[in-house]
Amino acid sequence: MRRIALLILSFGLAAALSAWAITAEEIVKAVENNEINEEERIEGSMIITDRFGSRVKTFVSYASGADKMLLEFTNPEEKGQKILRLEDEIYLYFPEAEEIIHLQGSALKESLMGSDFSYEDLTGEGDLLDLYKVTLLGEETIEGRKHYHLELKAKKRGLAYPKQEAWVDAEYWVMTRANAFSLSGRLLKELEIGDIRVVAGKYVPHYVIMRDAMKKNSSTEMRIEALDLNAELPPDIFSLEELTW
């Protein structure tokens, strides 16, 4: 799986970068290159908090490169439900359903398991530099650490987030915060990333919290419980045929 940030969001900016003569484009390219793994397996949990309290969803996810991802829920209430992403297409599998659901159009904007993430957040949307005009706004210190402040403005219409801001840790070269805005400049979502650990020579965030600014008292925390960046995945795991097994 690509790191949680990329798995969940097109926000995804986490990187190992050289610390000199940096341009915004270089930061983004390096982040994207760094986030993509050949094959990976993650066990994780999602704590969804809203006005009714908190609920925990657990999952196992598999990813290959930037375009293929399979998420399977393991908590008792949704056990066996799967979400398959093939490039920008999302497919859902439910054990009690006799057909695979191909999510399209406005359905992609629906909340993922009642969380602050939407299905749309799972889609990669392609190369960020193809989609966004990126500007380096400057350097800032957050919690005592030097960060690069980036602004991303959509080059085309129809993207989930027309404008984004992101802060990249200048030492770990990992994006630690991001905000997404609507076309009118209204804050849509806030993302914070933490618990950065070194895994297989890479800085990998193990904690993500997302807040949907359109919902009151709502947040979703995701934690990586186990991560294997060199997983050997079964062949055809990312196919519609295998989805029902």
């Binding site: 809203d50 009714f52 359903a97 399209q104 398991m113």
Partner: protein
Amino acid sequence: MKLGRIAFRNIRRNKRRSLLSGTAITIATMFITFAFSLIAGMLGDYESNIVRYVSGHVRIRNVEYDENEELNPLHLSVTDYEEVVRRMEAEPEVAAVVPRTRFFTAIYHNDRTYNGMGLGVDFEREKKVMKIQEALEQGRLPQMGQKEMVLSAGLAEELGLGIGEKLTLLTKNKYMGMSGMTFTVTGIVRFQVAGFNESFFLVPIDTTARFLKMSNEATEVLIVLNDSKRVDEFAEKAAGILASMGRENLSAQPWTKIGIASGYMQYAQTAYDVIALVFFLLASTVIINTTMMVIFERMREIGTVAAMGMTPQEIVRLFFLEAFFIGAIAAFVGVLLGIGITIPLSKTGIDLTRSMEGVSLEISSVVYPRLNIRSTVFVFFYSTAIASLASFIPSRRAAKIEPVEALRAI
């Protein structure tokens, strides 16, 4: 000669004039009688539909459900609903008790999604309340525990689905996660209420519980009483029973105090009152206009009787009596005709299907007018009184004119 006899003789003397005046009053009275019956039928129908489809006479829900209803909070349910149903069924005032689970859903069919409103029901118990078997147009009702459903006719048409075909429902479950389940269509129902035919479908409540991860839970329990006038009284009793069961988290509300139902009822009542007022004004205008016209055209006659020594008061009384006799007879005939129209239509109904398309109010596509004796008697006296009183204005004016002046007129 007594004025009453003169008035009768005048009525008989000019039959065509009397007939014209009487016919106008008859038609107006008939119209009001029928309109009142139609409105009574619509209001009764509205109440009946609210009770059958929406709230029962008394509705039991989790207290917090109502506060969050727009979020479809399935976790704020009536837990162990069968215990509540059995307890309420034991009460002598109760005619039927039904558990229901309402849920919003996306319907997935042929790579497209549609919005739908699902209702998990106990089909056997609903035979007494929703009477689905009467609405079943094709196929059969689903079997409890099976992944089967009946679709409303409009929804079946929109989806292009028939008996034996399948569709998949996607919805938020009790734990706010997603659930998906494929159902087979076993029947198509055409509800009386046009609005329900556009998005409703019914599934077995036990299958719904499995689908929504709700074990032996329902979003509501509806109670239908033998006597609909004792709704408030029974709601209080039901609240007491729930408290004695240790179910303080549940509330029992009479349908008249449920926001949407009572709001719609008030809206419907106001709308119908306005319609009734318009009917009344129109009919009254016809009666007043006809009566006044008939008197004004008799100025020469008024001059003659005045010249013969009849006092202005006697002239006014004479015309009042004439109008009263014509009004009473015509109103009586009008009421009879109104009843004559209403009775057959109260059996066959008036099909409003086309005019009710897209209307979400709980009004049936076929409305059955209801004759109300009190309002019918009122209409008779009202028409008679209006016709009689309408005679005062022209006759008083005519009586004040000098006989010579009156004789010159026309």
